[in-house]
Amino acid sequence: MYPKELKYTEQHEWVKVEGNQATVGITHFAQDQLGAIVGVGLPDEGTTISKGEALADLDSMKTADQIIMPVSGEIVKVNMTLETQPELLNDDPYGEGWVVVIEMADSDEINELMSADEYKDHVAKEAGA
């Protein structure tokens, strides 16, 4: 449920690092908590967003939420398919449901993210709360 090769945030984003680029999506836990996602507000390519700021808006049947930038940088690719098929976020959160690719401004920020094991503990704590 939480692939080893990915890094994770407290707000339930996953990050896949390749060179200076980071692909970002939401975790299995996040999509499960949100329930059926029915709409996505995506950023434009070329936008620069700082770590901790909102990256995208999500509408689910239960609630509205935001995806938060896990690392600072420029948005170089956006998964536009999500606009017409938001269900990909629920059905395949680590694959077809990827959200953006970021050209990182400071790749050291990766070190502040959680490993799969750390994230598993984090989720267990939240689910128990």
């Binding site: 908590q33 059926a36 029915v38 709409g39 049947m61 609630t63 938001p86 269900e87």
Partner: protein, 486 residues
């Protein structure tokens, strides 16, 4: 069982009207309109007889559910019963047949009503002057924030004060209104009692704060006893205090936002003062302010000059109009009828009974439903489905099962800070018998969640249509009917 649309009942040539023969000579449309403005194919409009038309809409109306039919415990929104005297008063020809362009001396009654309603709203809230223009709650919020902005600008601090603080238990419209007014929204968390966390608040309050917006009682139905201290913290940094009056139903006649230190509030006349709500409204988000904000109020403001009521446009610091004419006037008439028919004592009694009813239902459900905050509530309370989740039954299933038992569902999945939330507001008009029947239905559902969870997961069973595929409806909505080809 679904029913055909009026379009599907259409048969060419049927009519629900008959017009007398025209006594002026007819003209072809081609003589009157340019070619591009003329439709090439006739519009597809339904053609039905009068009786079929009446039956169609009467049948549709039977499928509605409203507060005139049954219990409607939607929290966060005070869906109270609207006494019919309000409708009688609003239908008086003197109110109904006037025109906004009529000269002031011919609409003295209407102006007097607006003046007196404004004064009443100031008295109930502890404020100085009111504007009846905003058309709904969020519009009132925006107007209030615009006044706050104008105030800071008048002190030369407009550029410096860029932030508005909103607690996480506020109404969802609060951060939206602040953002629309150009402010950066700063959220503060709730403490373990469900109030604003004062330590976090102190950390974010500084010279760049324009205002704090508080909903009190908040969306957990809890009164923040620290309201005065919150006001002091914000005021001491030069910020102003905005009070979201959506939950006034719990406090009217008991405490006043003005006395708590707030500088501006909006009312939802369509909530607290029983003017119809939902189904198109229209609403009214009248605002009332302290003296420091009064110069900036939208123009015109109704003024009393001796025996004469006039519209005062001579307010040079005004932010200008926020709505055409004078607000949703007929809604104002209904609110005034409600306030004056209850009187000061009656309003207080309404608030007390609303709070009593909510606490009664809450304590009866406690034990079978998880109470998110175990404190006496105000006019509404929040429970969640954490006990039922263990059996695979969630809040949505409970809400659907209530429909089978003849009740409207409460607000669900709100507030967002509680997982699987149900927010219940019985209001003051419900009898003990109605409350007991609702409690009975909720306890029955709690029992079913253990003995027969699948019954709940498949609910509703007794409604016109069963469980709807709301996910597909949201993802791929079909927004209009298209006639079959041919």
């Amino acid at each position: 069982m679904t029913m055909p649309l009026i379009f599907e009942k259409s048969k060419q040539g049927r009519k629900a009207y008959s017009l007398p023969k025209s006594d002026i000579p007819g003209k072809e449309t081609t003589e009157l309109l340019p070619d591009w403005a003329i439709r090439k194919k006739p519009a597809f409009l339904p053609e039905v007889s009068e009786v079929d038309l009446i039956r169609h809409y009467t049948e549709l109306s039977h499928r509605n559910f409203g507060v005139d039919q049954g219990f409607y415990p939607l929290g966060s929104c005070t869906m109270k019963y609207n006494p019919k005297i309000n409708e009688d008063v609003a239908a008086l020809p003197g109110f109904n047949n006037i025109h906004p362009y009529q000269p002031e001396e011919l609409v003295q009654g209407a102006l007097e009503l607006m003046y007196k309603l404004g004064r009443d709203l100031c008295e109930i809230s502890g404020m100085y002057e009111a504007s009846l223009q905003p058309a709904a709650g969020a519009h009132g919020e925006l107007t209030g924030l615009m006044l706050i902005k104008a105030y800071h600008e008048s002190l030369g601090e407009g550029e410096k004060r860029t932030k508005v603080i909103v607690p996480d238990s506020a109404h969802g419209t609060n951060p939206a209104s602040a953002a629309l007014c150009g402010y950066e929204v700063v959220e503060v968390k709730s403490d373990e009692r469900g109030g604003v966390d004062l330590t976090s608040l102190r950390e974010v309050v500084s010279e760049d704060v324009a205002a704090l917006m508080l909903t009190n009682p908040n969306t957990l139905g809890l009164f923040d006893e620290n309201a005065v201290e919150i006001a002091d913290i914000v005021h001491s940094a030069g910020g102003l205090l905005y009070y979201d009056g959506a939950n006034m139903n719990a406090i009217m006649g008991i405490v006043r936002p003005g006395d708590m230190g707030f500088d501006v509030l909006h009312y939802n006349l369509h909530k607290t003062f029983s003017t119809p709500h939902g189904g198109g409204g229209p609403g009214s988000g009248a605002i009332a302010v302290k003296e420091i904000l009064a110069p900036f109020l939208p123009v015109p403001v109704v003024k009393k000059d001796g025996e004469l009521y006039t519209l005062d446009y001579d307010r040079p610091d005004s932010i200008g109009r926020v709505k055409g004419f004078y607000g949703n006037f007929n809604v104002l008439v209904k609110a005034f009828a409600y306030i004056r028919s209850l009187g000061a004592k009656g309003l207080r009694e309404a608030a007390e009974t609303a709070v009593l009813n909510a606490n009664y239902v809450m304590r009866k459900l406690q034990g079978r439903y998880h109470l998110s905050y175990d404190r006496d509530c105000k006019h509404e309370f929040v429970i969640d489905a954490s006990y039922q989740l263990k059996h695979g039954v969630n809040t949505n299933d409970i809400a659907k099962a209530l429909l089978d038992l003849g009740f409207h569902a409460p607000t669900v999945y709100f507030p967002l800070i509680i997982r699987e939330a149900m927010m219940i507001e019985p209001t003051e008009t419900e009898s003990k018998e109605t409350l007991d029947a609702f409690i009975g239905a909720m306890l029955k559902i709690a029992e079913l969640s253990e003995s027969s969870p699948e019954t709940l997961q498949e609910a509703p069973h007794n409604t016109v249509v069963g469980r709807l595929d709301d996910v597909t409806a949201a993802r791929r909505p079909i927004l209009r009917w298209t006639p079959p080809e041919g």
